[in-house]
Amino acid sequence: MPGCALPGTPLADALPGINACVHCGFCLQACPTYLNLEDENDSPRGRIFLMRSLLEGTVGPNDPSVKEHIDQCLGCRACEPVCPSGVPYGQLLEATRATLREHQSISPIARLILFVFARPWLLRPAMFFSRILAATPIPTVLSGLKGRLGFAMAMLASTGRSIERARYDVRSRGERGKVATLRGCVMDGLFGATNRATNRVLEVNGYRVVDAPGQQCCGALHAHAGDLENARKLARRNIAAFERSGAEFIAVNAAGCGAIMKEYGHLLKDDPEWRDRALAIGSRVRDISELLAAAGPRVGGPLPMRVTYQAPCHLQHAQRVTQAPLTMLAAIPGLELVPLHDSDQCCGSAGIYNLIEPDTSDAVLEPKLANIRATHASWVATGNPGCLMQIGAGLIRADMGAKAIHPVDLLDASYAAYGQ
């Protein structure tokens, strides 16, 4: 491009990706914000046009409306699998946000969350406090409040509503290899039971689970918000930790975390010291469902329940993993899997989006809840903490009775029911 208006920025680096867009518009109908907000500024094609305009200088990086439309993107990447030209939209979005951050500040809530997540000494007590709060009736009582506080409380309340199951013993021969699991921040803090179930189901299926001490937040939230520096810092720590573990596979039960870890190579592409290490670690990352599907998985005891499946965006669009979670659920006898209409559409969680863009998030969640209602399912299975809490909170606030659950918990409950 002659005369780039923002030379040397992450956005300028991303120009080849922007150039791949021919403006065909095939992404429009895949985009949840376009469908809900009905303005092309809130579509992938429109946002790419804004990115190009930033580079051409026809709009400035201080322009508030550009930031508004870039901020309003969920980052669900549903546009990527429909793009004939293979525009790497997720990468373009992160580069744009990183570039705009130099000129316009991000919301105080987002800043606070990112600050805490990058610092284990703050994150641990914050999660501890959330866990204590979640164990009290307070979140449930406050979940009906209007606005974000009520929604945040409903999110917390939803984390305590998993499935009852008996304890069972596992002894793994480890013939399928050594696996280190990512503990994650929210998974570790609020879904500890799911993390423990993850280790158990891996062992039932012949994997040997090893620890990877020193691991931290994956950095996805930071990268999505354009805070690439902190995302890279966190990525380097995780790469070192998982290298030390000597594991063949890194199992991730949070789709958002798995997606960025698989892309660590891109995140650190300009870091000669870390680039190859990042690529190597990235190539060992698997969503938990991929490892289980590769192992069969072993069939458990019966769980006679009606379940529907919502595909997390970062699993199906970013990682392109679509069948493995269904294979997992199919290994549960008696479980009736009801298809969810538009299950490939985002639920509106999108990391911390539901806290900073509440109106759009609610608009995206609404049709999701209606589609869930139509399935008459009592459980909604989805493999990502953000989606679990978003859908969980929505179900509580709409007083629907159904609960959100990680597929791993269902498989674990099925193994617990085996032989009983």
Partner: protein, 500 residues
Amino acid sequence: MTQPSASTQRASVSARLADIVGERHVLSRPSELLVYNSDGLPGYRRQPSIAVFPGSREETIAVVRLLAEEELPFVPRGAGTGLSGGALADDIIVVGLHRLKKILSLDIDNRRATVEPGVVNLRLNRHVAPLGLLYAPDPSSEAACTIGGNIAENAGGPHCLKYGVTLNHVHAMTVVLPSGEVVELGSRTGERDGYDLRGAFIGSEGCFGVALDVTVRLTPKPQTVRTLLADFTSVDDAARVTSAIIASGIVPAALEFMDGPTIRVVEDSIYAAGYPRDAEAVLLIELDGIEAGVDADLEVVRRICLDGGARNVKVARDDIERAKLWQGRKKAFGAMGRLAPHLIVQDAVIPRTKLPEILQTIHAISEKHGVLVCNVFHAGDGNLHPNIAYSADNAEESKRVHKAMTEIMNACIDAGGSITGEHGVGLDKMGYMESIFPASSLNAMCELRSVFDPGRRSNPGKVVPVHSCKEWHGVKSARETSAATVPPPLAAEPSRPVAQ
């Protein structure tokens, strides 16, 4: 000091539009209007002054009436997937109809549906598919384009070879004319009396008004569908086979042509369909109808292909394979972004029998100018789509590309062809209008337009060059005198783009 008054007027119009549709659905800040400055052909850019998105029929009528009252020109826009710059607004108002997306009624017994103009083509098809019905026109942009836009362009698509274009699948429309008057065109229930104004409106490229609802014809799904892929090592062979299939008397549901560069760009994309990468051309042929007849036709077509030099003829085994073959074809245009940042796509129609020689000519032109032409087109009805991927930032390359494209278009015109099969004239092809139509025909078009939009406020400056109307706005005698001095047209009348 015209600036302040223009901006004051803009602010006051914006405010009044916001009163009708809500503030969120009116854009007037330049940075928010940027994305509305192009359609599917971003080589052309025109910045609108205001964009307004009505959310209901009533709001649409109110918006058009306000614009009539203020005597303001406007451009109706659907999903902005057009390929002729037709929905561009040069410092005037864009009326986006994409929020009108309700399917209003379904009449299954009579195979009709009434829809709002912003309904996406594929959504209508998905909606009626469980009933064993389909809406036949299937432009490659079906996943994004709207029924209203299809009407404006009289959209085609691969299956128009057998089923006809949009015109053949619309019974009636309610239209708000640029004056604000609401009229019914066509008949929802039966045959029409009098002149076919519905036919005049379809394909009017947004110059005659705005459709508020559209009653479309639904077609029963054929009992049997067979999809064949024939691959060739010679473009010439594939072109001759195309003519031979049509000459055999069989009417395929679709007969599509993709050349080597197109095959390879599709195979690199997420829509890789399993086309052989080393082929120089493939024909994607679909036959449908009653099982026994289709199978007999299939054997004939297979034989023609093999006798004509095809290396292989593969028949899709199931619906999944069939869908994959089609997705590759339909997303080919979008995949061209892999080659270069900009794309120029044309839409010429030629007599089918001239296909081999025109393809040779195109090849010679591309060699001469050093550009890569990707040919992907509706071979069955002779509707060519030469695409050239290039970088508009390179002025020298840009010049070569446009020169090559102009020569290609002129070659098609010389072969007795036309300049558009389905993309419309818009802005892009207006310059060719005078080379294919005599002045008297252009003037007749201007007069027809005046019936619907005497003020020429709806999508001004498109389709027919303004000066060709002005020239003929004299008294009748003057018109006749001038007609005698007009040079003979290159083609007496453009051939209809679609065989029916």
